[in-house]
Amino acid sequence: QQQVKQSPQSLIVQKGGISIINCAYENTAFDYFPWYQQFPGKGPALLIAIRPDVSEKKEGRFTISFNKSAKQFSLHIMDSQPGDSATYFCAATFDFGNEKLTFGTGTRLTIIP
């Protein structure tokens, strides 16, 4: 049972543009939603995370928007750069501090000059 659905599967954005990746979850018990970034041949690395008590969290060029009623959250990358080209995974877990994560299927982002 896929509990976290991610879209799109792949995304091409021009340098300087905004990249948007969306995720939807089913289980309302989830209470921690991180985004991980993965480069080829590397393990995923935490990018930014949010808890459901806030609707938005911003760190530099990266913003998470969270809609609890719709059970959706999204990652926005402003002023996208070629170095942002990677695969991005959303994830969710039941209990903050418990890193037994359920991951989405990933979005391969390519930033073109």
Binding site: V4, Q6, Y32, P34, Y36, G41, K42, G43, P44, A45, L46, A49, F89, A91, T93, F96, G97, N98, E99, K100, L101, T102, F103, G104, T105, G106
Partner: protein, 118 residues
């Protein structure tokens, strides 16, 4: 290095053979996780250790898979009678003591062990 170390980085084996994958977590991290990542998919939880004990092994697909962490640091994932469907990248991750305040909820992943079963 200061990161999570996994060996081997690549392992090719034949169907039916036994394999061991090793993980050396970040020093001082008491929580250790194993995930499996198939091609084009997100990581899938296998097992979680808090200290020496397996706190949650609900993700292990069947009894051919087993993991140990005898001294609360290095962990070994063991796969018996390998099958072609076991081919994947096996990721290990560690995190800080969940019982202490200040846990960021961050998993620190290694680069993975790519297993290919022929």
């Amino acid at each position: 290095g200061a990161g999570v170390s996994q060996t081997p980085s690549n392992k090719v084996t034949e169907k039916g053979k036994y394999v061991e994958l090793r993980c050396d977590p970040i020093s001082g991290h008491t929580a250790l996780y194993w995930y499996r990542q198939s091609l084009g998919q997100g990581p899938e939880f296998l097992i979680y250790f808090q200290g020496t004990g397996a706190a949650d092994d609900s993700g292990l697909p069947n009894d051919r898979f087993f993991a140990v962490r005898p001294e609360g640091s290095v962990s070994t994932l063991k796969i018996q009678r390998t099958e072609r469907g076991d081919s994947a990248v096996y990721l290990c991750a560690s995190s800080r003591d969940l019982q202490r305040t200040g846990s960021t909820g961050e998993l620190f992943f290694g680069e993975g062990s790519r297993l290919t079963v022929l």
